[in-house]
Every structure is written in structure tokens, then in C-alpha cells.
């Protein structure tokens, strides 16, 4: 019991917080009690060993990196109380911003979507032509207020005629048998293909198209994001153009 009382003073003794009288009493006990002395000794060694831990030198570039980060924050207008915002917030905000911009662009651009040249669809549903042909005057024949605009994928290919043959056989196997792909050759180096693809074959179509050429499917992705409900068949347009061909599409609608 007495030993416990002395033990409770060990930390205060270690920190030099005992009165001279308390210290003297404890020292006297430690000289007499081996058990307490061992415990005291162990505690003292624990404290001493911590104070002798080797000291590391920080990397020499540390302050330079911090200053560079502060400059970067300043450029991005992030200085100020944002320091205490969570680390994930900038990324989350960025993701939300990208999503908003994408949706906004889809809303704004789709009724009059334009690339940098023109292909003309003779069925009055869209206009497109190669840049070398008629430029944008024809292309403005859009149908405003189209109810369900069909997204367009632009497929850029190296060898147009070869890619055209490959596409024909691939599309035959992949598209909805009830609706054969309609293919319109709009110039010697551009073709517009309308097709309906069953939802379950859509990924396969994308894989196959990626094999044939460089595919820009951003409009399709935006369309799918905006209409997440599962459809049985997806209507899409594939604009096939030769590499380097400058194309512009004005408004695609049904």
C-alpha cells in the first residue's frame, strides 16, 4: 500500500515537481525498497531514452516546396481560410464543376452542335459535308426543337475506303436486325451512318470502332449521362472521316 503511494509520485519526481520534503521522503524510500527502485529506474530510463532519440534533418528542399505551393495556391486564388477545408474538397468541387459544364454544354450545344466542317444529310435531319465542299452556309438547316437529338460519334480513320469496308461488315453483325444501318456517302472521304444498337451490344460496338480508327464518343457519353434509364436500343450516328479531314457538324436532330 505504501509503495503505491510512492509510485504515484514517480512522474512528479521525474518532472521536478515535488517539494524538497516530498523528494527527500521518496529518495529515502527508493533506497530501502528494491521493487520501487526498479520501477522508478525503468520509468526514468523510458524518459531518458526518448530524449536521446536521434534527430532527423528535414529534406533541404522542404521550405522551397512549401513556398512553391503557396505561390501556386495564390495563382489559383486559394489563399485564405480555405486552409482548413477538407483535402478532398478541391477534387470534389472540380468534379462537380466538370459535370455541370458537361451538362450545360450538352444543353446548349446539342441543338446546334458544330464541329469545324460540314456534312449534309439529305433527309433534312442533319447537315454535314466535308470542308473542301460547301462550307457552313448549308449547314444551318437545323430543326429547332427536335425532341430527341441523336448523338454523334466521330470516327477518324487512316484509310477511308478500307475502314468503310470493315465498318460495313462489322455493323451488319452488331446493329439491330430490325433496323439496318443507313449509310450515306457524303463525299469521297466522309460517311454518315445511322444505326440502332441493342444496349447490350453497345460496348462491343465501341470496342470495334476503336479498333478501326480514332473515336470521339464524348457526345454519346454526355447523352448517356443525361438519359441514364436503360434503353432497349440506342440510336446513334457515326460520322466516318479520313484522318486530317476538317469536319463540322451543324445540328443533328430527328
Amino acid at each position: 500500500m505504501e509503495c503505491r503511494k510512492y509510485e504515484s509520485h514517480f512522474n512528479a519526481y521525474l518532472d521536478g515537481e515535488l517539494s524538497p520534503k516530498e523528494r527527500e521522503t521518496l529518495q529515502l524510500h527508493l533506497r530501502k525498497c528494491l521493487s520501487c527502485y526498479r520501477k522508478w529506474n525503468s520509468l526514468q530510463k523510458t524518459r531518458d531514452i526518448l530524449s536521446r532519440l536521434p534527430e532527423l534533418s528535414p529534406p533541404p528542399h522542404l521550405s522551397a516546396v512549401v513556398i512553391a505551393r503557396l505561390k501556386e495556391h495564390r495563382l489559383r486564388g486559394l489563399t485564405g481560410p480555405s486552409a482548413y477545408l477538407p483535402r478532398w474538397l478541391p477534387m470534389g468541387a472540380m468534379a462537380a464543376l466538370v459535370l455541370l459544364i458537361s451538362l450545360g454544354l450538352w444543353q446548349v450545344l446539342l441543338p446546334s452542335f458544330s464541329f469545324r466542317s460540314l456534312l449534309s444529310d439529305q433527309n433534312n435531319t442533319s447537315t454535314l459535308s466535308s470542308h473542301s465542299a460547301q462550307p457552313t452556309t448549308k449547314s444551318t438547316t437545323t430543326r429547332e426543337g427536335a425532341q430527341s437529338p441523336v448523338p454523334v460519334m466521330v470516327l477518324r480513320v487512316k484509310d477511308f475506303s478500307r475502314a468503310d469496308r470493315e465498318l460495313e461488315s462489322m455493323l451488319r453483325s452488331i446493329s439491330d436486325p430490325m433496323s439496318k444501318p443507313s449509310r450515306q456517302l457524303n463525299s469521297s472521304s466522309a460517311r454518315l451512318i445511322d444505326l440502332k444498337v441493342p444496349e447490350q451490344r453497345f460496348s462491343r460496338l465501341l470496342r470495334e470502332l476503336h479498333k478501326i480508327g480514332h473515336l470521339d464518343q464524348s457526345q454519346v457519353e454526355i447523352h448517356r449521362m443525361a438519359t441514364p434509364q436503360k434503353q432497349k436500343a440506342i440510336s446513334i450516328r457515326i460520322l466516318v472521316v479520313s484522318n486530317g479531314e476538317d469536319v463540322e457538324i451543324h445540328r443533328i436532330g430527328e
Binding site: 526518448l50 536521434p54 521550405s63 522551397a64
Partner: protein, 202 residues
């Protein structure tokens, strides 16, 4: 022991702080130089990894610069800086724990003894004192292993008091605890470390 920069007078430090508050990054670089070693050693002992310690130290100083307008000089700058350090460290430990970092770290600990001396300055000392020599490489690794094993709250108070040498008053201010609580937490932390080190001290 990590020596805090006592040589720099509080007024000089306050001058640098005042300049920093006006957005002077060069003054902040000077201020950083005064404290980076202590903060880096603290974060290293808290996380047990040099890479993580470097990242965390950077974050602490970035946060300090951004929040420096809130420092009104009522407390010592180091006390204020450590409050930020403690907050950031707590958040980083939570973040790393979720990613199982400490479990992986303890598996790596067995190789720590094989790593080169962590402290080149220590080796470079041509005439090390007997006290320095007593803490062998093996012992330092064992102490770090034990520090890694005790709860972060206990680890931080041990490091602040027994490694960094802060007073109870300063600890009380940093941790927003009354001095009695600081003492009892420190005593429990010492006991936990003592228990872990056990026979190694004999």
C-alpha cells in the same frame, strides 16, 4: 533531444510573423527555417515514415501561412504552430488508418534496423557523447516501434513533453486541456511506453 529554437527572440519572430501576415512569403520561409526541424521530427515520430512526415510537414506550413492572420501573438508562435500541427496530424492519422497504412508500416518495421542511420548529423559528430552512444541504432528502432504501438494521443503528448521539451503550461495551451489532465495523460503515456519497452530497458 530536439532543441527548440530558443535562441530566436520572440520579438524577432513576431516581426517575421507580422510580415507574413502581409503576405510576405520570404519572411515565412525564414520563419519556417526556425521551426521545420522540430515539426518534421514530430511528424516523423508520429507517423514513423519519412515520406509521410515530409508531406505532412508541408501541409502544416501551408496551413500555417494561410491562417497566419488569425495568429494575434497572444500565445507563442510555436504553440500556435503546434496546434495546427496537432490538428493536421490527427487528420492525417485518420486518413492513413483508413488506408491501412499503419498495418503495412509495422510489417516494414522489421527492416528498419537494416536501413542506414537515419541521422547523418549524428554519425558526422566526431566526438559523440557517451549519452548519444547509448542509444544504438537497434534501440532507436525499438523505441519507434513502441511509439507506433501506443495510441496516437499518448504518442503526441510523450513527444511534445519528453522529446520536444514543452512545459505543462504550453502543452495545456496546445491541447486545450487543463494542466491536471495533461499530467495524467502524460503519466499514462509514459507507462504505456515503459510497458512496451519492458526488458529492452534492462
Amino acid at each position: 533531444m530536439v532543441q527548440r529554437s530558443r535562441s530566436v527572440k520572440r520579438e524577432e519572430e513576431q516581426l517575421l510573423v507580422d510580415r507574413c501576415r502581409q503576405g510576405d512569403r520570404d519572411s515565412f520561409a525564414q520563419l519556417m527555417k526556425l521551426h521545420e526541424k522540430q515539426i518534421y521530427n514530430f511528424t516523423y515520430r508520429m507517423l514513423g515514415s519519412e515520406e509521410e512526415a515530409e508531406d505532412l510537414t508541408q501541409d502544416i506550413f501551408v496551413a500555417a501561412f494561410k491562417g497566419i492572420r488569425r495568429f494575434r501573438g497572444e500565445a507563442k508562435f510555436s504553440t500556435w504552430l503546434y496546434r495546427i500541427a496537432l490538428n493536421q496530424t490527427r487528420n492525417r492519422i485518420k486518413y492513413l488508418s483508413r488506408r491501412n497504412f499503419f498495418a503495412k508500416q509495422s510489417r516494414r518495421a522489421q527492416y528498419r534496423e537494416e536501413s542506414p542511420w537515419e541521422n547523418p548529423e549524428f554519425l558526422a559528430d566526431s566526438a559523440p557523447t557517451p549519452e548519444q552512444l547509448t542509444l544504438t541504432k537497434r534501440m532507436a528502432a525499438q523505441v519507434q516501434e513502441c511509439l507506433d504501438q501506443i495510441p496516437p494521443q499518448a504518442r503526441q503528448i510523450l513527444l511534445l513533453r519528453d522529446v520536444q521539451g514543452f512545459s505543462y503550461e504550453e502543452l495545456s495551451e496546445m491541447l486545450s486541456l487543463n494542466p491536471g489532465t495533461v499530467k495524467s495523460r502524460l503519466h499514462r503515456a509514459r507507462s504505456a511506453l515503459q510497458k512496451c519497452l519492458g526488458d529492452k530497458l534492462e
